[in-house]
Symmetry: C2
Subunit: 214 residues, 2 copies
């Protein structure tokens, strides 16, 4: 079973690594990081490089596709070789997935029309223009399309998908292996839970934060 | 404020990326991935490469040090240039931290003697031999030494440390930015919560899972 994780410039690292470090631990999974070119891609803040080991044309039939998000997503919205590749591999995937604003890329490629989907909370309002119906759930399954909310939600998606693929015990073993017993020091992980002034400030600063331009 | 994240062969990616993608979003933080050599380091399963942009000798005074864990940790336990570097930079850090079995490296370098600390639950029993006192907490602060439990706990550590460094609102803004409102599909993230047979199976298989040898 091949797991392909897409990389592009200015992706958000945790978007990619959350699903990767859960799903890649399923028995029999071979994971590959893939991009338009091979070699390192720099993340949203520019301070981390993840290596794409394969170019798009080398990955023709992944079973699972993961598309991360991040501010670089905005440069991946135009039709072209990347969208063509996404549509081509989607024709035979078992699961086509995204984290954060990766759903906007899937949507722009035409894969979410008429489907329920999610994205980073700051980007939810962009889904309808791509034909998708935004939901307030953290992980959304609609057929073989699985979209997760912002950044860290890819861990929850990875575990949920691991359960669908290999059963509850296999997924629980991965959860225990990565000791995912979350104890956030604050309860500020969604706009309705965070203090109103924090949510307002992040909305205001989101252009900078999401763009990694501090 | 410089944040240095150590890389070594067969580290666990989420151990490094969790603290990175929280702490690096603090205003004024400059993050750098550092290793004995520059260039890519491969992770525990070998399917992901993260790039070290700086060699040890180029990073002489980080304010925050993060040491991840992973099966490659066992090769980092002998005294030598890496331990010398860790001790040297620790002399001037504001915070010296680890995730997962990274605490065993800090301990082997002599930094946790007489201190409360934690590690991956499967590795807790190795702490006393390094002079540290294991605790059952997910994130342990002892002076400037902060150790986190297995893999995913580095996100909780990053947020807790962000709060100490820049205040609650700054940390909450990061939590909201990465939409960290965990909703694991199972409650199996610690050995006392997971089904007994899952915990037993993972103990049995841990040599393989932790070593990435499936």
């Amino acid at each position: 079973m091949q797991l392909a994780i897409l990389l592009f410039d200015r992706f958000t690292a945790l978007d990619a690594v959350g699903p990767y470090d859960t799903l890649s631990r399923l028995p029999g999974v071979e994971a590959v990081f893939v991009g338009e070119h091979t070699g390192p891609y720099r993340n949203d803040t520019g301070s981390l490089g993840l290596v794409a080991d394969a170019a798009l044309e080398e990955v023709t039939a992944p079973d699972i596709l993961v598309v991360p998000g991040g501010p670089g997503q905005t440069a991946q919205m135009a039709d072209g070789p990347l969208h063509e590749w996404i549509r081509a591999v989607d024709a035979t995937t078992t699961w086509t997935t995204s984290v954060c604003t990766g759903s906007l890329i899937l949507g722009a490629a035409g894969l979410l029309r008429g489907r329920r989907a999610t994205s980073h909370w700051l980007a939810l309002e962009q889904l309808p223009a791509l034909g998708a119906e935004p939901t307030g759930e953290r992980v959304v399954f609609d057929g073989k399309y699985v979209t997760a909310a912002g950044v860290s939600s890819g861990i929850d998606m990875g575990l949920a998908l691991a359960g669908r693929i290999a059963g509850d015990a296999a997924a629980q073993m991965i959860q225990l292996g990565i000791e995912y017993d979350p104890q956030p020091p604050y309860d500020a992980g969604s706009p309705d839970k965070a203090p109103a002034e924090v949510t307002a400030a992040l909305r205001e600063r989101s252009r900078f934060l999401l763009a990694g331009e501090r």
